[in-house]
């Protein structure tokens, strides 16, 4: 049992027509924990993330965040989303706004912060992700890695209790993946609670507290990175990892 849980998935079911994307997923995320979701494409990892902040309605089960049902009627889903930062595979920065405005728009429109306070907060966050000099640029003038770092700053500007990362490096050029992962590593080191869908096994191995392996809409195995990457119990997990070039203990040593 996870101590001090912040996010609990209970037997979550999600269907798209005849396709069952999530087939009874249960997973608990403790405060300050970093949990990586790995598994083949289409296995339901990203769907679970979108369900977490109600971007997708559930077909069964429930999700509890900070002790409240995400879908409860008394707390509008907006309030849940404010406390969960989300980072998308395709960045999804707002192209008509400057970098700075992308980061301030959440605090000013949702948290009703004054524009001075929001700008101060945003400048600090842009400095944190190493992009102070890009504040007045538009997203289209930035590289993929820079856009994703702005997206992280945008999510952090809401001072979330939890960060959801949906394959944050999958759309990036290999040379810019590192800069995004290092920002994420810094966040993890600072104690941010993170749920990360990723194909970066090295990141999962070094940064995650726990790793959950998805296959066909189910969590087939869950454990510490050590356990999953060096002593997976489930055959399907070992198959998946070997497809990616991981071969038990030896691979871990060489990374």
């Amino acid at each position: 049992m996870t101590a001090d849980p912040i996010l609990i998935f209970e037997n979550v079911i999600k269907r798209y027509g005849s396709l069952t994307a999530l087939d009874g997923v249960s997973l608990t995320l403790g405060r300050g924990e970093v949990v990586c979701l790995i598994g083949p494409s289409g296995s339901g990892k990203s769907t679970l993330l979108r369900c977490a902040n109600a971007l997708e309605p559930l077909d069964g089960g429930r999700i509890v965040f900070n002790g409240n049902d995400v879908k409860s009627t008394e707390s509008p889903v907006r309030l849940v989303r404010q406390r969960m930062g989300m980072v998308f595979q395709n960045f999804e920065l707002f192209p008509h706004l400057t970098v700075l405005r992308n980061v301030t728009i959440g605090p000013t429109t949702v948290l009703k912060l004054s524009s001075e306070a929001a700008e101060e907060r945003s400048q600090k966050l842009l400095a944190k992700v190493g992009l102070s000099d890009k504040a007045t640029a538009h997203p289209s003038a930035l590289s993929g890695g820079q856009q994703q770092r702005v997206a992280i700053a945008r999510a952090l500007a809401m001072e979330p209790a939890l960060m959801l990362f949906d394959e944050p490096t999958s759309a990036l050029d290999p040379e810019t993946i590192g800069e995004v992962l290092s920002v994420m590593k810094t966040l993890a080191d600072e104690g941010m609670t993170m749920l990360v869908v990723t194909h970066e096994m090295d990141f999962a191995r070094r940064v995650a507290n726990r790793v959950a392996v998805f296959d066909k809409g189910r969590v087939i195995e869950e454990g510490t990175p050590q356990q999953i990457f060096t002593a997976a119990r489930v055959t399907r997990t070992r198959e998946f990892l070997s497809h990616l070039g991981w071969h038990g203990e030896s691979a871990g040593c060489h990374q």
Binding site: N90, E92, V110
Partner: protein, 219 residues
């Protein structure tokens, strides 16, 4: 053949009044048809079926029938059968606004659906209200994309205002044809009318070209 261009100069104040009415009609129509089109577009995209269907019916009717027929309808049929009598100007505005709103609605709708789902998700994920998501994130991007189409509609509208001359609204076409009837100087009057339309329309067409160039979607 002899020309009498003095007719044009002596009629110029009336022609300019007509030109002014043309500009006024086009501006008022567009000012009303932009919100009108936006509302129709949102209704068509609404998940409430009867609303979506009503808006679709409205749009498809006004897009698929001639503007001249719509103006006649409002002017002659409404008073005869529904006991609604509008002044000429009001009739002109109602006809034009319904017609242009229908076109604008399709323009806006295509702009809105062209914004990918990820942008909605990113805005919702920040905790924004649906109204804020639409007004601050989706609508500004959609508007940039449809500005060229909107500008083209404007240029068409500017010329189509001439159709309301059939119900004696004193815009440029009506005034010109009146002067022609009074003076029998058909070539001079129609040339002056063409010159005035061209002088007003050409800069707009150039502006539209510039807008097409400036706001073409780069993604």
């Amino acid at each position: 053949m002899s020309f009498d261009w003095n007719i044009v100069w002596s009629s110029l104040p009336r022609l300019l009044d007509g030109a002014w009415m043309t500009i006024w009609l086009a501006c008022v129509t567009m000012l009303l048809a932009i919100p009108g089109g936006l509302v129709l577009a949102l209704l068509r995209l609404s998940k409430i079926r009867p609303l979506a269907m009503a808006a679709t019916g409205f749009v498809e009717f006004f897009r698929a029938t001639p503007l001249i027929l719509q103006i006649y309808w409002v002017y002659y049929v409404l008073p005869a059968y529904f006991d609604v009598q509008l002044s000429q100007i009001t009739t002109a505005i109602v006809g034009l606004v319904c017609n242009i709103s229908a076109f604008n609605s399709e323009t806006f709708r295509s702009g809105i659906v062209s914004i990918r789902q990820g942008q909605w998700n990113a805005a919702y994920a920040l905790g924004m209200t649906p109204a804020n998501v639409f007004l601050r994130i989706i609508a500004p991007q959609a508007l940039m994309r449809v500005l060229p189409a909107l500008a083209s509609t404007w240029v068409s509208l500017f010329k189509d205002t001439s159709l309301v001359s059939i119900i004696a609204v004193a815009e440029l076409s009506y005034v010109s044809l009146q002067i022609r009837a009074e003076t029998y100087r058909i070539l001079e009057v129609l040339t002056a009318m063409a010159a005035l339309y061209w002088l007003m329309g050409y800069p707009q067409a150039k502006l539209v070209d510039w807008i097409h160039h400036r706001f073409k979607v780069a993604e």
